[in-house]
């Protein structure tokens, strides 16, 4: 065969392919046969050392070897590496998986041919330096670059041969004196290594980023929801387009600890209702408003023995009618219990949420007590000192029945656990019975008089001074009397802490706008394409996790240190890395590495960086021929 330039062009790629095939074959042979074959190849190499030397240090071979390496690295990213034979067979089928395993492509980066190519690359680097005598000043750049790569590979080899890597998981107070060695894929092996000292975990600590609630826009994408955008406290007031819905939305206000206060304002005469603004000592909140003629709002129970009534009638104002107790239940989300409360009585059942649920009111305990010994609930007396209602909620769709205890002062106990699926939140209000015969009653009438009754008998009357604060009865002060007033809700936050997060949002479609309140965890549809606006907590993220450790020898502390991600602790030739953190334990996962090649690799890094900079910017090279040495 003539050695034409056309054929010469294929020499280096052919040599590279042959090299890979030979390395693959050597890797498949038993150790003794592989050693024998390598010895034969070494003898052959010695016999043809001159052309081999020229070939290995030539630019074409460098180019083809680097190309082979990059193709192998790229190939390794298309095939999952390090899978077990079973997992590989499940992914690709038994036949293709077997083929991948024979070729070594299932663990390419740890395969013999791949490592062999790296070794040949390192050899070429060294030979190039020798051939060019590259340590001389004008060639420092290539010397450093080629020598650097060889140094990195040498450092890696040292690390692979004599280095060790293991993992330990400790709880506070626990110690470890040895590590379980990991394989190249990070899986534990049976081998253990003694540290030569004892590592004790003194404390673990996880610091999270501050909580944050945001308004998210989602759209359905297959079986998942895709978040399109979100708004937080910094973006209040900014309109966002909900693409595909024809609508825009914005976050008007964000209330970390939401509360609603009804505020009075003067109404034009003939509109609104008469209102009495009062302040009650010892109550939270102390402000209250009585609205004359408005059912449920004209009366107020001050305490067990006193009630207030605000009437707006001429003539003698009185209060003689008795009123039985009332149980009111309303579903979560409804802010105004007076509008949406369901009046219930023990022993009866009621449909809820348009018939989705059945609410069974099982039992009422006026003066609830729970006996810890017998674990039974009972009522200490008939007086409504601690009213509690026991209810059962049945989901008609799933048939699931759930019992709940409703306490008027603890709405959190009526929440549907694991919502959604746990049923709606229920809130309970108990309105005690009123019997004028038993109570001290104070009435304010249109005559602007305070009328005081005791046991149904008028005890006296006195005028309500205009424009000044007046004590009606002990602990109750009239702030202001409004002949015509109307109430409007005022949303506010009681504190800056995320106790009851609520978002006030506004949605715009063309010229029409509408606003709504969303409590944390609630969502609302937006448009007809399935988009949803949801007010949610931003995903919890760890900011810092740290482990405080002590290194002991013979029970004596030698050293105390803190492990942080990016800040390993070195001792006795080992480096300890903060690897994992488990809050449930709590426990700390610590990676232990001994890498004697680390310094060599770092020297190689410096050499390669410097060498390339010097080669590329501080020297000019003439064009060389096909058989010339590497640059």
């Amino acid at each position: 065969m003539n050695d034409t330039p056309k054929l010469r062009r294929w020499r280096a790629p052919a040599a590279t392919v042959s090299l890979v095939v030979v390395l693959w074959g050597l890797g498949r042979l038993p150790t003794w046969a592989g050693a024998a074959a390598a010895a034969i190849l070494a003898i052959g190499a010695l016999l043809y050392r001159k052309p081999l030397y020229r070939g290995l240090t030539g630019l074409p071979f460098a180019g083809s070897l680097l190309t082979a390496l990059l193709m192998a690295v790229a190939l390794g990213t298309f095939i999952p590496q390090g899978l077990s034979p079973a997992a590989l067979a499940e992914k690709y089928g038994a036949g293709p998986a077997g083929f991948l395993r024979i070729l070594g492509l299932d663990d390419l980066f740890h395969s013999f041919p791949f490592r062999g190519v790296l070794a040949v690359l390192a050899l070429c680097m060294i030979l190039v330096i020798i051939r060019r005598r590259a340590w001389r000043p004008p060639d420092w750049g290539p010397f450093l670059a080629h020598g650097g790569v060889a140094t990195i590979l040498a450092g890696s080899l040292i690390g692979n041969l004599w280095g060790r890597k293991g993992y330990i998981e400790l709880r506070p107070g626990e110690t470890a004196s040895s590590i379980k060695i990991q394989d190249p894929h990070g899986r534990p092996t049976a081998a253990e290594m003694n540290l030569g000292f004892v590592l004790r975990l003194d404390e673990v600590d996880l610091e999270r980023y501050p909580e944050e609630y945001r308004l998210y826009l989602y759209r359905p994408k297959g079986e998942r929801w895709e978040a399109l955008t979100s708004l937080g406290s910094r973006e209040t007031g900014r309109w966002r387009i909900a693409r595909g819905t024809g609508r825009e939305f914005r976050l008007l206000r964000l209330f970390p600890d939401f509360d609603v206060r009804m505020e009075l304002r003067a109404a034009p005469p003939g509109t609104g209702v008469p209102a009495l603004q009062i302040r009650l000592a010892g109550r939270e909140p102390p402000e209250a408003v009585l609205l004359a003629g408005v059912k449920d709002r004209e009366e107020l129970r001050v305490d067990r023995d006193r009630s207030l009534r605000f009437v707006w009638t001429e003539g003698k104002s009185t209060w003689t009618e008795a009123r039985p107790e009332e149980h009111r239940i309303w579903m979560g989300g409804a802010e105004d219990p007076h509008d949406q409360a369901l009046r219930v009585r023990p022993g009866a059942s009621y449909p809820l949420a348009a018939g989705r649920y059945d609410l069974e009111v099982m039992e009422f305990f006026p003066d609830f007590v729970f006996d810890l010994e017998t674990r039974r609930a009972s009522s200490r007396s008939d007086r409504p000192r601690n009213p509690v209602l026991r209810v059962a909620l049945k989901d008609r769709e799933t048939g699931r029945r759930e019992e709940r205890w409703l306490f008027p002062g603890h709405p959190e106990l009526g929440r549907g656990h694991g919502h959604p699926g746990g049923g709606p939140d229920l809130r309970y209000q108990y309105i005690p019975p009123v019997d004028p015969a038993d109570h001290e009653i104070v009435v304010v009438g249109k005559t602007r008089e305070i009328l005081e009754y005791r046991r149904g008998v008028l005890q006296g009357r006195r005028p309500l001074p205009e424009g000044s604060q007046t004590e009606m009865t002990a602990g109750v002060v009239v702030e202001r009397l409004w002949p015509w007033a109307e109430e409007e809700p005022r949303y506010l936050t009681r504190s800056g802490e995320w106790r009851r997060p609520v978002a006030e949002i506004e949605v715009r479609e063309g010229d029409r706008t509408a606003s709504a309140l969303l409590e944390a965890g609630e969502s609302m549809p937006l448009g007809r394409e399935g988009h949803v606006l949801a007010f949610e907590k931003k995903r919890d993220e760890a900011k810092v996790y740290r482990s405080r450790v002590s290194i002991l020898k013979g029970g004596t502390p030698l050293r105390v240190g803190t492990l942080l991600v990016n800040h390993p602790l070195s001792h006795g030739g080992f480096r300890f890395y903060q690897s994992r953190y488990d809050e449930r334990g709590p426990s700390s996962g610590i990676l232990v590495v001994r890498d004697p090649g680390l310094g060599v690799v770092y020297v190689g890094f410096a050499m390669v960086s410097l060498g390339l900079i010097v080669s590329l910017f501080f020297r000019r090279r003439p064009e060389t021929g096909g058989g010339g040495p590497s640059p």
Binding site: P60, L70, W239, Y577, I613, L616, G626
Partner: protein, 272 residues
């Protein structure tokens, strides 16, 4: 994000997009006419765009309370800054006016990608990214990408007009492509080394054969192939320039293509 929303919510970003889009015709005009006004317009638009890009990054840094280099969206705003920086340096060194429209085009593509796929929220830095290596590693890498983009553009020009030579210096597009590539390869090497050192400090390994790491290595090896083969007789010219073009495609895949890989699931580097 519509233009109105862009202007109302991110006026600096809107201005940056406008300046970048303006730089494209201004740069093209400068290529076809050497009149001083077009030089001024072209350079002015490029300078304003670079300054606005710096301002957008500063704004993002302040808003996030951390370097804004974590997510794909954030790096799509960082990349144009680096490309403008390298372009303006090459313009100063070699009067390569042709790079202005190329840069404006790629930067406009980056910015439009960012605008139409913004982050849902500002994400926070996990412990692994709280490292002194975070900023130098990312910035060095994107500076390298910028240099390699310039070499890619010049290599395409060299393939299209192989006989063009600068009257003043006598150099052709191929020479300039090599110079830009040299800068990019040096920066790419530094970025790779920084990433390896960071990996060792964070996870105990300088190399974990993660798909992104592997493709960074593929890109680097590809440029090493270029450096070696361009010195072989017969490889200079079109073959060498073709390698530069393909190498840059590997860079683009490293940056944007990782989610396409079946092995991307376990990667610590892939943009989610």
């Amino acid at each position: 994000m519509t233009p109105e929303i862009l202007w109302s919510e991110r006026p600096l970003l809107g201005a940056l997009v406008a300046a970048t889009l303006l730089a494209l015709p201004a740069g093209l005009l400068r290529i076809f006419s050497r009149r001083r006004i077009f030089s001024g317009l072209s350079l002015g638009a490029a300078g304003v765009a670079a300054a606005l890009n710096a301002a957008v990054l500063a704004e993002g840094w302040i808003e996030a309370g951390r370097p804004p280099f974590k997510t794909l969206y954030e790096t799509l705003l960082l990349a144009p800054m680096c490309v403008w920086g390298v372009t303006l340096i090459l313009l100063g060194l070699y009067r390569l006016w042709i790079l202005i429209p190329c840069t404006a085009a790629i930067n406009a593509a980056c910015l439009l990608h960012a605008i139409f796929k913004p982050d849902v929220e500002i994400s926070r830095l996990p412990p692994a990214l709280q490292s002194v290596w975070f900023v130098p590693h990312v910035v060095t890498y994107f500076t390298a990408y910028a240099g390699l983009f310039a070499s890619f553009s010049l290599a395409l020009l060299a393939l299209t007009w192989p006989s063009w030579h600068c009257e003043r210096s006598g150099l052709g597009f191929e020479d300039y492509a090599h110079r830009a590539a040299s800068f990019g390869i040096a920066a790419l090497t530094l970025g790779l080394v920084m990433g390896a050192i960071w990996g060792k400090e964070a996870w105990g390994d300088y190399w974990t054969w993660d798909p992104k790491e592997n493709w960074a290595l593929v890109s680097w090896l590809s440029y090493l192939v270029y450096l070696h083969l361009r010195l072989v007789r017969g490889w200079k010219g079109r073959p060498a320039m073709s390698i530069l073009v393909f190498s840059f495609l590997a860079v683009v895949f490293t940056y944007l293509g990782m989610t396409l890989l079946p092995t991307a699931g376990g990667s610590l580097h892939v943009y989610q």
